[in-house]
Symmetry: C2
C-alpha cells in the first residue's frame, strides 16, 4: 500500500480549495462553471467500489455538502455529479453547478474545452468556497 | 407529499431490470454500452442532497452493487457514474460500463445519439443483470 498522491493532471487542471475528512476539494480551472472536484485521499482507488463502505458513506456526504454549498453560493439551475475517470483514472467526483444559460447546457461539461479563470477572478471564486466548506468540515 | 412515479421519459428510454431497497433499476435502451440507471423511488427528489442521510447511504451502496455487477458481467475498461438531470429532473444515477474501444471513448456517453437494442438482444442483456442483482438484493 502506497501513500495517496494527487494525480499530476488533476493537480494541473484544478486549484486547491480545502480538505474534508475523506476528500481533497479542488476547483476546476474553468470559469464557465462553478465546478468542484472531490478526490478521496486514498491510494490506489479508481472506482467508487474500490472504497470501503465507511469511505463510501463519507464520500456521499461530502458530495452532498459540496452540492449544498455550490447551490447556496451560485444558485445553479441544476447540479451535475459525475465520476468518469476515462482520462485520469484516480477516483475523482465532479460537482458542477449548471445553468440553463451555460455554454454546454443541456449537454455534459466533460469533453468540452475549458476556459481558465483570469488571475483576478481566482480568489473571488475560491474564498467563499473555502469559507463555507471550512465552516462545515 | 405525493407518491413516487417514474418520470415518463425515463420510463420510455429504459427497460425494467429489478428493484433494490431504494432504487428502481433500469437498463438504458442503448446497445452501445452496458448502461444501468438507478432511480431512487422517492417522490419530489431531483438532487442527491434532497435525499435523507439514510437514503444517501443506500444510494451509494446500490451504486457500488450495480458497479460490481456491471464490471463482473461485462469487464469494462472503466465505470462512469453520473447524476446529471439537465433534461429529466427526477433524480437518476447512471452507471455505465465504458470500453477504450467504444463509440464515445474517452468522452461522456451523455448527449450522444442512442442506438436501441434489437429485439432479440434485450432478454440476453436483461437476464444476467436481473439474476445477479436479485441474488444480491
Amino acid at each position: 500500500m502506497t501513500d495517496f498522491v494527487l494525480d499530476p493532471k488533476l493537480r494541473a487542471d484544478t486549484l486547491e480549495v480545502t480538505a474534508l475528512p475523506l476528500c481533497q476539494v479542488r476547483l476546476m480551472n474553468d470559469r464557465r462553471f462553478p465546478w468542484v472536484v472531490l478526490v478521496p485521499a486514498r491510494p490506489d482507488v479508481s472506482e467508487i467500489l474500490d472504497l470501503s463502505v465507511a469511505d463510501r458513506g463519507l464520500l456521499i456526504e461530502e458530495i452532498a455538502l459540496v452540492s449544498i454549498v455550490v447551490r447556496e453560493l451560485f444558485h445553479p439551475t441544476k447540479l451535475n455529479v459525475g465520476a468518469l475517470g476515462n482520462v485520469v483514472a484516480q477516483l475523482h467526483v465532479h460537482v458542477v453547478g449548471r445553468f440553463a444559460s451555460d455554454d454546454a447546457w443541456p449537454g455534459p461539461v466533460w469533453g468540452t474545452t475549458t476556459e481558465p479563470y483570469r488571475h483576478d477572478e481566482i480568489e473571488r471564486r475560491l474564498a467563499p468556497l473555502r469559507y463555507r466548506l471550512s465552516a462545515s468540515a
